[in-house]
Symmetry: C2
Subunit: 364 residues, 2 copies
């Protein structure tokens, strides 16, 4: 019965938040506020069991909770606290079940913390895995839905006490559309509980090990800083990633389109890339890196911008003229690179039909 | 056990639709499409018991269903058929109950037909009454909510198969806001099931007798036309209303504001009102009639525009330059004129804080 592979305690929360920020590939929302909220609960003695996804069976119902909305608002509009629990209880009520554990739909960014917070409050476990292995801008961009999870019942709760249940929706695109607009009404941030899934389905479709991976990345960054080591090098060792560009931002364009931050950053090469131009396309997350016009990393592979000197993971909204970046590429999990997955999260799905997905390092 | 005061059959549907159009006071949506849908079901043999609201007890759960959205769209975007039933089942599921009868929230306009249609399909009764005795533009403008009905659970269903449940909402304004935007996402029309109410509450708060009243008005109009009688006079006799103005439209302004048709019509007096100017303010429904600058009818009393020659009830969207109107005033039910009610549906609630409600005929 060694389903429990680890027990999350207060000491894991900051590394988890830092690692999650890196896996957010520029988006996913800042996990820092969630870290503070989690710390308050864990300081009262909470310890959350982390379950091996390989140990899950059909008898286990697994819940999924996460924030939905505009990350920038969540920094100022705090939660009341039990939004995740209320949304979760509403979907359990429809199905007449209780979940044994929660999983994050998106380990990259703020939604790494939400299942941990709700699990700590509700006395549940958390599964060591997630549905993206990174961050993506929309709820259907997730292995669970790509591989056939039902789109309802889902529920959304706000800090005022409103709970809206998506009792039946015809597909994930409808859930995304309806929930997104309800979130705007609720004040641009809310908590979403997605349909509970059976354990055997989660075992087959989750990107495994990503909670421990985020913690490992976060610890690496903290230790490297403490020891004044080169953070970029240490992150590359820990993640198995590769450095694809270093440069200085010479132009940055951002505009809000349909609730998403879209834009691009232009970089003038430094170090090994002097004389080259880098270009990064953004929709909340970093989508594509071109070097001298040649696409070298593209979704679903991970494009991570670290501040060159400090190794700090940079979200797309803090990029600014003159910043020096190290642009890392990390390979996405194989579950994200199947033909079914690429239809939903490949370059064409993000408006780049001219790019045929080429995995990281294929041309290396 | 004479709870059943009447049994609605196919022959009642057209009079109900015509009378409901008149009680819509210019708004409420056209009941004609609902009449056609109802007729299809009743032709297959349905007959719906009509219950006396005075007979309802605490043991009876009463459901409320109605269309929500832009009436103009409902003329072109037809229903799949069981939207009302699916929305109703969703709220019953949350409460773990089954309703025995349905009631209309709004007898004026299209929502007179919806409970009849859903009741015919689901084998339920209909209560002879409603929550307005007329039409109003927003769901909270209803005796049930004015007198304390809970705002949740409510549910909304579209023709595609989506069902959204408002499991908990903090008040009716939030329900209105959330459901209105979900309706827009669903294509601007959908069916809404409001929270089932206990029979004793409905007995105390419903405007009684309005289904039979609408049928009586509809029959009167049909008969007067068949006998080439003056329709306006016959309607005044049947409703106990009074003629407040006759005139020709010389100016009509309409604009869409926040999903509502707002505007005003200017009339040049005819007959007894030659030399006078009439002015009617509109927000979906007719709100206020001024004659020579003096307010003579105002919400919640009913302002009904009949085409002068035919007696046809005119909705605000078909008013046009040159039309000759008879403007009738019908007294609202006392439940709409209490201080609690006037806060929600008095002139100030519609943007006329300078008007203190003066009931119809008070100055006569």
């Amino acid at each position: 019965m060694s389903r429990e592979i680890y027990r999350l305690t207060e000491a894991d929360l900051e590394p988890l938040a830092v690692g999650a920020a890196l896996l957010g590939t520029g988006g996913g929302g800042n996990p820092y506020v969630g870290f503070l909220r989690a710390r308050e609960i864990f300081r009262q003695g909470a310890a959350v069991p982390l379950l091996d996804p390989a140990s899950l069976t059909e008898a286990d119902w697994i819940g999924e909770v996460g924030g939905i909305g505009a990350p920038v608002v969540s920094i100022e509009k705090f939660e009341q606290g039990d939004e995740g629990t209320r949304a979760l209880r509403a979907v359990e009520e429809v199905l007449g079940i209780r979940v044994v554990a929660l999983i994050s739909g998106e380990i990259g960014g703020a939604n790494a913390m939400e299942p941990v917070i709700t699990a700590a409050r509700a006395g549940l476990a958390v599964v060591d895995g997630d549905g993206m292995g990174r961050a993506f801008p929309e709820v259907q961009m997730c292995t669970f839905f790509i591989y056939g999870a039902r789109p309802s019942p889902a529920a959304i709760a706000d800090e005022k006490g409103n709970v809206v249940v998506y009792r039946n929706v015809i597909d994930m695109y409808w859930l995304e559309r309806l929930a997104r607009h309800t979130t705007v009404d609720m004040g641009a941030t809310a908590m979403l509980a997605l349909p509970p899934m059976r354990g055997d389905f989660v075992r087959r479709t989750a990107v495994p090990g990503t909670v421990m991976q985020a913690i490992a990345i976060g610890r690496t960054i903290k230790q490297a800083r403490a020891k004044r080591q080169n953070v970029v090098d240490r992150v590359l060792e820990t993640t198995g990633g590769r450095l694809f560009f270093t440069g200085k931002i010479t132009d940055i364009r951002r505009h809000l389109v349909g609730g998403f931050a879209r834009g691009e950053a232009i970089l003038s090469g430094t170090g090994d890339w002097v004389g080259s131009e880098g270009r990064i396309a953004i929709q909340n997350e970093n989508l594509v890196l071109w070097v001298d016009g040649v696409p070298v990393i593209m979704v679903p592979d991970l494009i991570v911008n670290l501040e060159f000197d400090t190794g700090e993971p940079l979200t797309t909204e803090v990029l600014r003229y003159g910043q020096r970046l190290a642009v890392l590429g990390l390979p996405a999990h194989d579950l994200l690179k199947t033909p079914e997955a690429l239809k939903v999260i490949g370059p064409a799905a993000f408006g780049y039909p001219e790019l045929s997905f080429s995995p990281l390092g294929a041309a290396a």
